[in-house]
Amino acid sequence: MDLFHNLALGFSTAAQPANLLYAFFGCLLGTLIGVLPGLGPLATIAMLLPITYALPPDAALIMLAGIYYGAQYGGSTTAIVVNLPGESSSVVTTIDGYQMAKQGRAGVALSTAAIGSFFAGCVATLALAALAGPLTAAALLFGPKEFFALMILGLILASVLSSGPFIEGIGMVALGMLLSLVGTDLSTGTQRFAFGIPQLFDGLDFVPMAMGIFGFAEIVKNLEQDDKLSLVTQKIANLFPTREDFRRMIPAILRGTALGTLLGVLPGGGAVLSSFASYTLEKKLSKYPEQFGKGAIEGVAGPESANNAGAQTSFIPLLTLGVPSNVVMALMVGAMNIHNIQPGPQVMTKNPTLFWGLIASMWVGNLMLLILNLPLVGLWVKLLTIPYRYLFPAIMVFCSIGVYSINSGTFEVYEAALFCVFGYLLIQLQLPAAPLLLGLVLGPAIEENFRRAMVLSRGDATVFLTSPLSAALLAAAAIAVILIMLPTIRTRREEALQE
C-alpha cells in the first residue's frame, strides 16, 4: 500500500531524535503562549516564528505545527479552568467545561478534552494522509482559470464564515487584495503603490500586519476592559472520567471528529466553525439537552474533538492545492516561504520527506500534548495568575522582536506600529480582520492566475464559465452568496457566529 509506505517514510522522519525534540519544544512553547488570554494561535505562531529561522526546513515546519496544536490545546485549558477562551475555537468549551470545573470536575473535563483531541488528531492525520495523494493529483490538472475560481470560492466562504455582515467581510477581502498589490508587478516589473520606498518593492509583509492587528491593537482593546479572572482555585484532582463519563463522551467524540474532519477542509472553515457546529449537534442529539450549559460532558468532548480535527484537516487545502483556508494557514505560507518552500501540489512530489514527515509529526505532536498537558495543568493555571499589566509588555516585546527578525530591520517594526492603529480602527468599526489577511495572502496569486487565464482566452472573460471545473467552483461560490442572503439562514448564521 502506498499510503502505508508514505506514512512509514513520514514516521521515520518525525521519529528522528532531533525532530522529536523540536516537536516537543513546539508543543511546550505553543501551550505556554496559547494559555495566555488574548493570544490565539495566530499571534502565538507569529511570535515564535523567529525561533524557527535557524532550523532546517523540515524541523522548522514540525516545530511550527507543534506550536499550532499547543496553542489550540492551551486555549481549551484556560477555557475549562478559568472560563477564558485562549482563542475563538475554544469559546464553546467554556460553556460546559467551566461548569464542570465549578462542580469540582475540572480534571475530568481536561482529560475529556485531551482524549477527544488525541482521537480526533489521529483520525484527521489519517484523513490528511489518505486525501493528500488524490487531491494533489487533481491540483496538477488545475490551470489558471481553475485556480482563480478556487481562490474566489475560498475567499467567499471565508467571508461567509467570518463574523459581522457578509458584505463587510467581502469588502475586507477586496481591501486585503488591494493592499497585496503594493510592490513589484511580477509580469511587467512595474513598481505599484510603492511611492519610491525600497522596502515596499517586495510588497507588504504578512507578519507585521498580523502582529499590528492581532497583537498590538488587540492589547489596546484588552486594556480598555478590566481584567477579571474567575479562577477556580481548588486543586485539580481526579483526572479520570468514570465509566458513565466514557459512555457519554465516546459518541460525542466520534461525531465531533467526523464533523471537524469534514469542516476543516472547507476554506474559511477550520477549528472555529467545527467546534460551534459540534456543540449545536450534540445539544440537538442529546438525551439530556437540559444539562447543556450546566456541565454536560458531551459539550466538552464534541467541540474539543471537532476543533482539533478541524485544525488538522485545514492543512489539506494548503499542502495539496497551495491555498490557505484560514489566517493561521496563511501564516504557514509565510513560514514556508522563509524556508524556500512553495506550498502546493509540488511539495509532495519534490519534497516527500518533508511532506510526510510533517503529517506524521502532527500525530506525534498530539501524543505529546496528551502526555505533556495533563500533568502540567497546574503550571499553566499558575501562568494565568500573572496580572495583565505585566503580561502585555512581555507580549509586546516578543511581538516586536519577532517582527524585527523577519528582515533584521526596523522598517517592519514601524509597519507593525502603523497597523496597530489601523487594527484598532477595524476593531472600533467591528470589521473582521481575518478576511483582510486572507485577501492579502491570496491577492497576488489571484491576479496572476486571472491575467494568465485572460491571456490564454485572448481577453474573453466568459472562459471562467465555459470550463466545467471553474464554472462549478464559481457556481458554488454564487450559491454560498445566495444562501447567505436568504433571511432564515442569515439569522441562524448570526446566532451561530456571535461570540
Binding site: 508587478d185 511587467t188 516586536s400 468599526l429 486571472f450
Partner: protein, 155 residues
C-alpha cells in the same frame, strides 16, 4: 423622526473606509498602463478591484442610512492607550540602533506599561529587568539573532 440621519454610524464608517481606500488605489493606479483584457498592464487589475471595493463601500453606506437600519453609534476611542502602545513600538524601532537592544527594550517596556491603568514604577521596572534578561538570554545568546546588542557609540 428623531436622531441623526445616519442610523448605523458603525456601518457608515466602515463603508466610508472602503470607499476612501478604493478611491486612493484607483487614483494611484491611473499612473500605471491599463493594457487590454487580453494583455493586461499593471494598472488593469488594481482599477477593477478598486471599482469593486468602491461599489461595496457604497452599498454598505447606503445600508447604514436605510430607514430599517439598526441604530448603532461609533465606539469611543481610547486614544491614550493607543498612543502608549503604538508609540512604544515606534520608539523601539527608532532607538534599537542608537541605544542597542537592551536600551530599546527598556524604553519599549516602560512606555507600553504606561498604557495600563494599574501602572506602577516599581512593577514596571521589575518587569523590565526580568524581560530584558530573558530576551538577552534567549534571542542574543540562545538563538543568535542579528541584533545590535550595544549602543551605537560602542561600535
Amino acid at each position: 423622526m428623531t436622531g441623526p440621519i445616519i442610523r448605523d454610524q458603525r456601518a457608515f464608517g466602515s463603508g466610508a473606509l472602503f470607499l476612501a481606500f478604493a478611491a486612493f488605489f484607483f487614483v494611484t493606479a491611473l499612473n500605471y498602463p491599463s493594457g487590454t483584457a487580453a494583455r493586461m498592464g499593471p494598472g488593469y487589475f488594481p482599477r477593477l478591484l478598486a471599482i469593486v471595493l468602491a461599489a461595496i463601500g457604497l452599498v454598505v453606506m447606503l445600508g447604514a442610512v436605510r430607514r430599517t437600519a439598526e441604530r448603532q453609534a461609533l465606539l469611543k476611542w481610547d486614544m491614550k492607550g493607543l498612543a502608549w502602545v503604538t508609540g512604544s513600538v515606534a520608539l523601539f524601532a527608532l532607538l534599537l540602533f542608537p541605544l542597542g537592544f537592551a536600551g530599546a527594550l527598556f524604553v519599549l517596556i516602560m512606555v507600553s506599561s504606561r498604557a495600563s491603568p494599574e501602572f506602577t514604577w516599581k512593577g514596571a521596572l521589575a518587569n523590565a529587568a526580568i524581560l530584558i534578561g530573558l530576551c538577552l538570554a534567549v534571542f542574543v545568546y540562545g538563538l543568535g539573532l542579528q541584533l545590535p546588542v550595544w549602543p551605537a557609540l560602542f561600535n
